[in-house]
Amino acid sequence: MYDVVDYVLNTTFNLGAAGWVVSLISYLMIATVLFLVAPLQMLFLTYYERRLIARMQDRVGPNRVGPEGMFQPVADAVKMFTKEDIIPAAADKWVHLLAPLVVVAPTMFMFAVLPWGPGMTPIDMHIGLLFFFAVSSISAVGLMMAGWASYNKFSLLGAMRAVAQMVSYEIPAMLSLLAIVMITGSLSIVDIVQWQGGLFISSSDVAGVPNWGLGWFVFNPVGFLAFAAFFIAALAEGERTPFDIPEADSEIVAGYMTEYSGMKFGLFFLAQYVLNFLLCAITAVIFFGAWQGPGVNELYALGITPDNPDGNGWFNVLAGVLGAFYFLFKTYAFFFVMVWIRGAFPRLRVDQLMDFGWKYLIPLTLVNVFSAAIWVGFNNWGANEGFGFAEPLGDLGRWAVAFVLTLAINIAAYIVMTRIYGETRRVTFDEQLADTAGLPS
């Protein structure tokens, strides 16, 4: 982008713009595009989800507005815009106004590090992954503000539930990512995607594996367990069913959104769907190689790259389109799974949710970090780090040993944890009644 803007300004129009002006203009253009993409994703995802869930429940779903109901989200948006904006008399006006903004803004920031294709990451930060999750944790503040400012017990309850859930599920999510970061040795999202070339075996682990762009992390035991834990945590972060207790409409109306109407409600809705999109996207990025897939690397190698400045720019475009297609395909596939889960599972109770996060996911992901250490030791470390005994095995042999070892550890951890968690005595309703009401059980 920088090069294109530089070329247009300084070569075509000969303006002699300074470097930072060019940077500013190019980043502004990228930001504009991303700000357009986010609401479009939301519009598409609402339609997608409603049609899917309708199909799963043996209904038709929205099919009146436009061909196959395609314009239903647009109609909804128009309705949202024209509705009256109501602020409760007892509400804290400024905080009530600011809360939706604080919830929406972070979701927009998170687009900054999302890789859409080869060479198509808006900003390649050294700490992109950490940035993504740091920014996502800001929206918890917005939820708290919304819940408190509405002056409504359902809002406050919903906000408390939402924040407690987000804060506790951030830990297993981070721990499962830690395993991946240990393997790549980098927090940069571009590096993480680059690592996942290969064919079921990452070519970064074993040299000489054909690079078909299929060496995704989910194909090794460490990555698979991390993926499972992360996806469950992502469901909780995005407040999807089975973890949608913050806005459980049969219990607490609509949670923190109860007192919002019109465009402010629209902003919450936008934030929620954009966040869901981002969580699916980051799952695809970290565990399924983002834009990696057959053909992208080959096309990109023919285009203009730092290594190959004489390439043909059209190959960049082709690689970008193919990469973006793979990326969006994976992302929507995960969103499909989210909708599927919503169609299949009932909602958890608050205490079950907390139990599951703290007593099951966290120990499991901790074991996974241990497995990741073994994986790194066998695959990436040499005699200097004390893994000289593994060197005679050769690259593939070391990979195989690491695979078997981590698989055994992870399966054992899964079995043991599931048994322990399954045998934990739950408080029954009678006991709880005896506890709160002082009854003999």
């Binding site: 300074a18 930072w20 740091a134 503040v141 708290m144 408390m160 709880q432 709160t436 009401a437 002082g438």
Partner: protein
């Protein structure tokens, strides 16, 4: 370029200090906490301006994402949010003001007048083959497992101690908890009471003194 950075710096300084003043001046403690978040955010942006990327992100993650949430939770778990009709400050708040202003003057005078800070920072690569002269996340991580290993472990132990300590301090024993019945429990209780009254068990546990429902009826 320099002007742009100066403008950004002044905006950030205004955000940090303005939000800081609001934290101590606002009556409503929730608003105070929200201003505090604003101040944290400004400090994070200042780190970004100072090219400490990793610290900026950690600042947002720890302060904005965790500490402020903790503070908001603590405020909501304790009553009296609005602080109406109460004194905001201690009686001798002017003494505190005096101390703060004196300290500021005492610190800032030698900083601005008696000391020259025109030090040219050493540039050049940290290690051969490294492009920039600024330590980033990679060097930080390496430092944590080499020169600062002991400090790192002590910090870990400190966090563990704080975790356990917070749980122990805030733990509420089951039998001291305020008793609020859920709808389902109330319903079940009424049903059982009818059953017991049918059986003419007048001295059932339900009518034990101190029971919330038996008291109300």
């Amino acid at each position: 370029m320099e002007l742009l950075i100066q403008i950004i710096f002044f905006l950030l300084a205004a955000l940090i200090l303005g939000a800081g003043v609001m934290v101590v001046a606002v009556r409503n403690i929730i608003h105070s906490a929200l201003w505090l978040i604003g101040s944290f955010f400004g400090v994070g942006a200042l780190y970004l301006l100072l090219e400490a990327e990793f610290l900026a992100v950690v600042q947002v993650l720890v302060y904005v994402g965790a500490v402020s949430i903790l503070i908001l939770f603590a405020i909501m778990l304790t009553r009296d949010v609005s602080g109406q009709g109460e004194r905001l400050l201690f009686q001798r708040w002017w003494l505190a003001l005096l101390v703060a202003i004196t300290l500021f003057a005492a610190v800032i005078t030698p900083t601005l007048l008696a000391q020259s800070w025109n030090v040219v920072p050493p540039t050049g690569p940290i290690e051969p083959g490294q492009p920039t002269g600024i330590a980033g996340a990679l060097e930080l991580g390496r430092g944590f497992v080499h020169e600062f290993l002991l400090h790192f472990e002590i910090a870990g132990v400190l966090l563990l101690v704080a975790l356990i300590g917070a749980i122990v301090i805030a733990f509420e024993e089951r039998n001291r908890r305020r008793k609020v019945l859920t709808l389902a429990e109330e319903h079940e209780l009424r049903k059982r009471r009818e059953q017991t009254s049918d059986a003419n068990a007048s001295e059932s546990a339900l009518s034990a003194p101190g029971h919330p429902i038996s008291q109300s009826e």
